[in-house]
Every structure is written in C-alpha cells, then in structure tokens.
Symmetry: C2
Subunit: 394 residues, 2 copies
Amino acid sequence: MSKIESVDFFYLRMPEVQDISDNSQDVILARVSAGGEVGWGECDASPLTTIASFVAPMSHLSCHPIATPVLGRKLDEPADISAINREVRARSMDVLQHSHTLAGIDSALWDLLGRRRGEPVWSLLGYDQATAKTPYASQLFGDTPAETLEKGRARRDQGFRAAKFGWGPFGHGSVEVDADHLAAAREGLGEDGILLVDAGTVWVDDYEAAAARLPALQEARATWFEEPFVSAALEEYSRLSAAGGTVKTAGGEGAHNTYMAKHMIDYAGIGFIQIDAGRMGISDAKWVADYAQARGVTFVNHTFNSHLALSASMQPFAGRADDELCEYPVENKSVARAVTKNRIERAADGSVRAPEAPGLGIDIDPAAFERYLLDVEIRIDGVTLYGTPEIPTC
Amino acid sequence: MSKIESVDFFYLRMPEVQDISDNSQDVILARVSAGGEVGWGECDASPLTTIASFVAPMSHLSCHPIATPVLGRKLDEPADISAINREVRARSMDVLQHSHTLAGIDSALWDLLGRRRGEPVWSLLGYDQATAKTPYASQLFGDTPAETLEKGRARRDQGFRAAKFGWGPFGHGSVEVDADHLAAAREGLGEDGILLVDAGTVWVDDYEAAAARLPALQEARATWFEEPFVSAALEEYSRLSAAGGTVKTAGGEGAHNTYMAKHMIDYAGIGFIQIDAGRMGISDAKWVADYAQARGVTFVNHTFNSHLALSASMQPFAGRADDELCEYPVENKSVARAVTKNRIERAADGSVRAPEAPGLGIDIDPAAFERYLLDVEIRIDGVTLYGTPEIPTC
C-alpha cells in the first residue's frame, strides 16, 4: 500500500503579465509523491490563492485546508482518487478555492497512478484507445477585422481545419463591427473551415445583446457560439440555445464541479460542454463526459495552458470518437511552453490524440521552468506554512 | 467625491480550533477606509485564502486580485457599491475565492456609506423601518437524544420561541436514531415551539437517505428541513421539496452569488432561502430577498459568526415583515464575541430587529479582539504583499 507523502506547488510567472485574456501568462503546478513515484498536474487558477487554500489553517469541519484530505491518503487504485475527491469536496467545501486546487492535485494523482502501472490515464479511465481529434487553434480576435482575417489565413496556412476566435474586441463594440469580424474570420479560414466563436462572457446575462449577434453568426456558419454569458446564467443560455438555429451554444469552462456542468446540460440547452480538467480535475471531468454523452451533448476540452494541462483535459474524452473537436492552444506564452519537454504534436493528417505513454504522457522540464519560478513565503505567527520547494532534479 | 483608500484584513482565531461544525472559531474582518470614514465587514470564509485572493498577483484579464476593482474606486452612493460588485465578479471571476472576499468588503462599504450619511444600511436599501424578527437559536444537535432534549429545554427556558438543531450526529447513524433526536428536540422545545432542522449537507445528493427522514420530521412538526444536500443538488432538492408535505425544504447558505440562489429558487423548490451576507455580500443578498419575495419563497439570514455578521445578514430583509424568522447564533466562541462592543439583543417580547444606528449599527472592539489577532505575512520574491495591519485605535 502506498500513501501520499507530499504535494508541492510551483508558481511560475512571466516577467510581465498583461491585462489580457491569456491564461498562459502564469502556471501553477502540483507535484504529488507517493510510494517512490511522482505525478504532475496543473491548475488553471490564481496561483497564490491556490497555494494559500492548500495550507490555510482549518476554520471548522467543512473548511479544512486542501492538504487535510490529501496528505497521507492511500493511493493504490482509481477508487482511492475518487475517495480523495469526495473528501476534499466535503471537508474543504467552504474554502471556495478548493475546486481549482483539487483539479491540479487530481491530475497529478492520475499521472502518478498511470506511471506506476505503465498505462496512460485514458486506459485507467476505461478507454480502449485514444481516438483522433481535430484540434482547433484557439486564439484571440484581431484588434480589427483585417487582423482577424490575417489570423484566420495564418491558421489555415498552418494546416488547421478548425479555429476559434474569442475575446479581444468582440462584443465591446457594435453588432456591425462584430459581424465584420465574423465575416473576416470565415474568409480567412476558408469555406470548409470549422469556425468557432467565443464571446468570453462579455454580455454576462444580457440575452438581447447576445441574440443580436445570431444573424451574423449564422451567416458566417459558426459551429458554436461560446460563453455569451457567465456559466450560471442558465435561463439566458436556454433562450439563446433555442433561438440559435444552426448555431449551437457552447459553455462550461467556468464549471468547477460536476453539478455546474450538469446544470448547463440540464437547464441551459447547450450543444457543446467545454470542460477544463485544470479547474475541475480529471475525475469529475470524466463524469461530465459520460453524462454529456447520455444527454446528446458533445464534450470538448477547454485548455489555455501548457501541454501538461492539454493532456489532462484530453483524458476524460480521449477514447470517444464522437467527441471530435479538441481545443489546442497556439498562442502560449513561453512560461507555459517551458513546463514540458514534449508536446502533443499534430499528426501528418492534422489530428491529435492523447499520449500513449504512461500517465499523462508528458515529461516535466524543471531545468527549463526554473527561471520562471517565484519565491513565495506564507507565514503565520512565525511558522512557515508554505515556502517555494526546491526544484526537483527529475 | 471620495475614493476607497485602503482595505485591511484582520485574521482572528481561537487558540484551538476544533474539527466541528462551528464557523465562529475564527474571524476574518475587512476594514475599508474612504474619505475619512471607515466601515467594517466580515466574511464567513477561510481567512488565509481570502487574504491571498485580495493580494494575489494578476494572472490575466479575468483573474485579478480582488484589490484591483476595489482600491481607488469612487464611493459616494449605493450605485458605486453596485459598480464595485460588478467589477469584482467580472475581473476576478477566475479567482474562485472572490465571492467570499467580496462579501466582507461589500458589507464594509455599506457600513461606511451608512455611517457617513447617518442612516442604517437597511434605510439605504430602501426599507422604511426594521421589522421585528423571531430569532431562532442556532445550535448543534446533542451527542445523544437526551442531550438534544436538554438543549431544547434550555432554549425554551431562555425564552426562544424557535430553535434550530443541526449537524452533530444527525444523518450519520440510523433513521431511528435521527427520529429519536427529532422527538427529543420537539419535546424539549415544547408543543408550540418552532422547530427547524439542519442536516448540514450530510447526504450530499442521496435522495433516498434524505427522504427516509421525512416521516420523523413530519411527526415532530418541523417547519423546515435544511440542507439535506449540497446547494448544487437541484434535482434532488426538487424531488424532496415535492415529497415533503408539511415540511418545507430550506437551503442556500452555500450560495455565493445571485445565480446560485436563483437556481435554488427556480429549480430546487425550496420554501426558505437562507443567505449569508458574509458569503455573498449585502448587495447580492438584497437582490435575492427581492427575487424570493416575487417567487413566494421566504428569505432567512444565515449567520454563524459575530454580531457584525449578524447585522450584515439582517439588512437585506430587515424591513420585510413577512420574512419573520432570523437565525441568531447562541453558541459563539469568544473570538466572535470579542469583535463587537454592542450586540443585537432580544427585546422584552423576544424579538430582534436590525439596528437603528448608522451603517450596520455595530461598534468594533479592536482592544478586545487584539488578543486573537494572528500575525500573517505573504511574500513573493522578497516583496511583502500582505502583513497584518496595525490594530486601529478607533
């Protein structure tokens, strides 16, 4: 029997972080050790807040530091990971940050167990094989329609069949300007490209503002209209889903537990559920993938970080041929690229698959990420609760 | 025009914190300064995680420290508080902890504005008067039915017309033992007492386990059955609400934004929505109180902390005569009692009202809480992001 001996967090950051919608400007990694093996995971989260939630002194029965239900726990089989998930969600329920912190730990637990067994995580999850996915290039809209056109052309030239445009100016100006961006994206991507559009919650819960963009989205033959609203605006999603016609709604990246994802499937009428294992964990994301299939909703990963995060987010639907699209970050900052020695590369036909190698199939590169590592210290009454750990040599 | 000059957090803690369901074992206070005035608020939250979320370096556009949309902002009128709420929820959306942190700040902003104008917060919220509420004594079940009986008697002897029993052994043993506790609570409280029961999310989302307790709850004439499930288990709540007969479901303390509360009202069929201003803020809690009224659901505060928190949680429904019950903590730890100089006392007829004094009507007692104050330091690359502030002299 092996037990979880340690969980270490590493906070990496670009020298300059810009006020833009690019989640790859910093990285928070979790390294778990158990029985002589290590596993790595990544949270898509506020790093300092995540670290604090792991070490924060207990407040009461349901407000434990995330460390309590993790350290010292048994880790021999997948059921042990389920038990840890349940415990964290019960005992740390009132630490709001817990889901993001758990997400990285959960990924690391799966990575560790897979490495120990010499199996990829998707195999531990019950899949026979990793099916081919169509990666879509995930990027921001250009500042102008002309820039958006150029970005679309660039992706097509790089061999991407699918591309997503999001954030940037979209939704901040007039309906007409947005329509120009959409037409430019379609033109750049070509007639047969799969065009995906991400509004980045810009309208919060304003149905009319979102619905006003539907004609241009239909005209540009967008496959999905992502995050017009915050994840919780179920009623507004539901109305827009019904009105969308050929354009399906997509959302769910804000979901950080199975319930939030389930509500979007049950009440919001979405066509695509987008789940980030770095915010929910692989365990819960797999539950969502199963539930989505049963309800006729397509599962897609959400990933804006390193290829460690990409692999984690691919595992829950790695073997499901019907869930064909895969978010594939193409504008990652150097800190996110420095995390891993290898990457999930596109094959000659342009497709990607979850790795065949054990665990998450991604090798971490401490020598490369060391230059981005921040020196963090948290002390209470003279006792150090957290200090940046030594860079591991393996 | 006045601007928010500073927000200071104070982390207070009992020398020993036990692994029990008592949220009053530590306290996190927020003090806001603007235009020469100060206001105080309290979060029901993990203190260290809350502090970290306020100072955490920006990760990207939607992952700002809570400080960004607060410090330096205009604070002249209630609309300014609304604007700050909107900004925090947009710019700090991906800091999961943000709602709890915002809750304390929002309360402090209302306190400050009320003090400056010489008006109670409930008046700023649009109420003409603070109506009388029936306080219910909020306490844990006894370890045995005999202890529960004694607790019920003690509350009746203290003049409480209403009492809530929660947590402790309830739901952890057999249906029969739970029935014994319920009968004992009813006996102790007397025939005409208002009996409220809190299951503390013990069954997570297990409908059958919760439904098995309904006969004993009906037999004991419980007014409500609170939190059989986690807040997100909307479908299970809905089934239990339909099956409850004379026993209404109650929940919502886990809601930390308006959407979560709205979902419980729209989809869970609850009869009582319980909102903690220390987890959501007074602003959003007021929205929920209005929405609940429109949907025929009774609003009740959730409070397990100091009388500063109690006042904050009473404001959103302070002037609503139909929402008559008020959670009133009676087993507070000394750290929570040390926070305030005055308390919200019961009148001769046993009722309580939100204070008439300006702001939240509660005076903070730094000289008394100083002995519980922890010395916290958070540093990144040698720069101190947070150090425990000096104890204020006023």
